[in-house]
């Protein structure tokens, strides 16, 4: 049984290149190519492929707009993003629409065919560098959480003065800053330490060993 593929990409050379790569796979057939989102949507009404290779950056519609529409109307169509954007935001925004795969355009023929087969058989396929990105993102998010309360030099300086019960105006004068700037730092410190009042701030800062 042939796996029917549709390609949506505004660069005809890319669509042609990908078609050529798949030409020698006897069980894969490219049934249609579309240069933009509009033609893709109207084309899907006539030919429903098994898998759609979707460029996420086309002139009229973005991949993260098209994916949910197609998923809703044609739940059987599996989507593999094929894009030159490998940043975590596109990856995340596409994956949240429950697409089945994410490939980068520098994909090798072997990987492309592997991805198509995996997805056709009900699996998901993320290219290695995409997986690495997701992993890095998770690590950094975790590290950020741990680092959440790290204060800048200036914030530490101001926190100590707040603990010494100086007012913003007094601190401003002492550090040659405007009161607005001091208040801005104060806002940031309170938010980092997750407190609403100065009294609570001083108490929490003392508990955390940030002052003294």
């Amino acid at each position: 049984m042939n796996i029917k593929i549709a390609i949506a990409d505004d660069h005809s050379l890319i669509a042609e290149g990908v078609s050529n790569m798949l030409r020698y796979s006897s069980d894969i057939e490219v049934v249609a190519t579309y240069p933009n989102g509009k033609l893709l949507l109207s084309g899907l009404e006539k030919i429903v492929p098994d898998i759609l290779l979707l460029d996420i950056h086309m002139p009229d519609k973005q991949g993260d707009e098209l994916a949910p529409v197609i998923k809703k109307k044609y739940p059987a169509v599996k989507i593999i993003a094929l894009t030159s954007f490998d940043n975590i935001f596109y990856i995340k925004s596409m994956l949240q629409h429950k697409i089945e795969g994410y490939l980068l355009k520098h994909v090798s023929r072997e990987t492309l065919i592997e991805a198509i087969k995996t997805v056709f058989n009900g699996g998901t396929f993320l290219e290695e560098s995409v997986r690495a990105q997701i992993k890095q993102d998770e690590e950094i998010t975790k590290r950020q959480k741990e680092m959440g309360t790290a204060l800048t030099k200036r914030e530490k300086e101001i926190l100590k003065l707040i603990a010494g019960s100086y007012t913003s105006s007094e601190i401003a004068e002492m550090l040659f800053l405007s009161k607005r700037t001091v208040d801005h730092h104060r806002e940031s410190i309170m938010s980092k330490l997750d407190v609403k009042k100065t009294s609570a701030l001083v108490k929490k800062a003392a508990e955390m060993g940030l002052i003294g």
Partner: protein, 314 residues
């Protein structure tokens, strides 16, 4: 004759009486005159004093008039010169402001033009040139599949490698020119992506913290803060020999700020104030009424803080 003697006596008495009377009278008259004289002297004195007083009063009045005249004149003169001076100052200030405004406008136009151009080149590189290279790579791949002898040819493999390297380079260049994330997402996301990229590429550990709402911040301001962060992170990479950097974005009530702090070698702020791209940052900040403060010491890392006023039209 006893009468004549008597008469004489009377006469004498009379005479004496008259005499005494006249003496008395004279004395009294003298007295009176003297008193009158004294009185008139006193009067005179009073008159004199009054006259003096009057004179003094008159002098005072004249002086007052003079004072008033001089004072008034001075006042008029002063206020006139003050007015003229303030007019002069005002016009000078206006000219200064106009100059500054012109400078700012020119800078704005330059930076806007620069950004537009960067944007255009980035899109061109990423979408068109990158796309064509991808197509070339696919074709090379297909050629390889079609011909087994081609696989063994060094020249073919070389071209294949060059094309794949070229694609990586172009993607990198396009990205550093204009982060597409910033065009469609917000500053914290774009910056996070940049930091992740730097961390992957160089091993420098960057901790990014975001606070507040950036959605409503004008795109130009977001782009500017992104550029400044980029510049500061590049400085750290080039000069600081740091292992860790903290990047903090904070969108507060009246201000938006960016802090870039590293644990590296620090620098002498005076010696390098004109270098390190700081001049570029300063001129960008001038446009939006922003400020930069640098806290660094040799051997003690550096902490650079940038703040921009929040306003509806900025």
């Amino acid at each position: 004759m006893g009468n004549s003697a008597k008469a004489y006596d009377y006469l004498v008495n009379y005479m004496e009486a008259i005499d005494s009377f006249s003496t008395q009278e004279r004395n009294m008259a003298i007295d009176r005159i003297e008193r009158q004289l004294q009185l008139s002297e006193k009067k005179q004195e009073i008159i004199l004093k009054e006259h003096l007083l009057l004179q003094q009063k008159e002098q005072l009045r004249k002086r007052n008039i003079w004072l008033a005249v001089i004072g008034g004149g001075l006042l008029v003169g002063l206020s006139l010169s003050g007015l003229l001076y303030s007019l002069y100052r005002n016009s000078k200030r206006k000219i200064h402001i106009l100059h500054q405004q012109k400078e700012i406008d020119e800078l704005k136009a330059m930076i806007n033009g620069e950004e537009k151009e960067r944007n255009r080149i980035a899109i061109e590189l990423h979408d068109n040139i990158g796309g064509m290279l991808s197509a070339a790579a696919y074709t090379l791949g297909t050629m390889q599949d079609e011909s087994n002898t081609l696989k063994q040819q060094n020249a073919f493999n070389k071209v294949n490698n060059i094309v794949s390297e070229l694609r990586k380079e172009i993607r990198k260049t396009a990205h550093s020119l204009m982060p597409d994330v910033l065009l469609r997402h917000s500053l914290p996301e774009a910056l996070l992506q940049y930091c992740n990229f730097i961390e992957r590429d160089t091993g420098l550990q960057i901790n990014l913290q975001n606070r507040g709402d950036f959605e409503h911040l004008h795109k130009d301001i977001q782009l500017m803060l992104y550029r400044i962060a980029q510049e500061l992170i590049q400085n750290v990479l080039k000069h600081a020999h740091a292992s860790q950097v903290m990047v903090q974005l904070h969108s507060g009530t009246g201000l938006t700020s960016l802090t870039v702090e590293d644990n590296g070698s620090g620098f002498d702020p005076k010696a390098l104030s004109e270098g390190r791209g700081l001049q570029h940052i300063r001129s960008r900040l001038m446009i939006v009424d922003g400020r930069i403060s640098i806290d660094t010491e040799e051997g003690k890392g550096s902490s650079i803080y940038v703040e921009i006023n929040k306003s509806d039209d900025a």
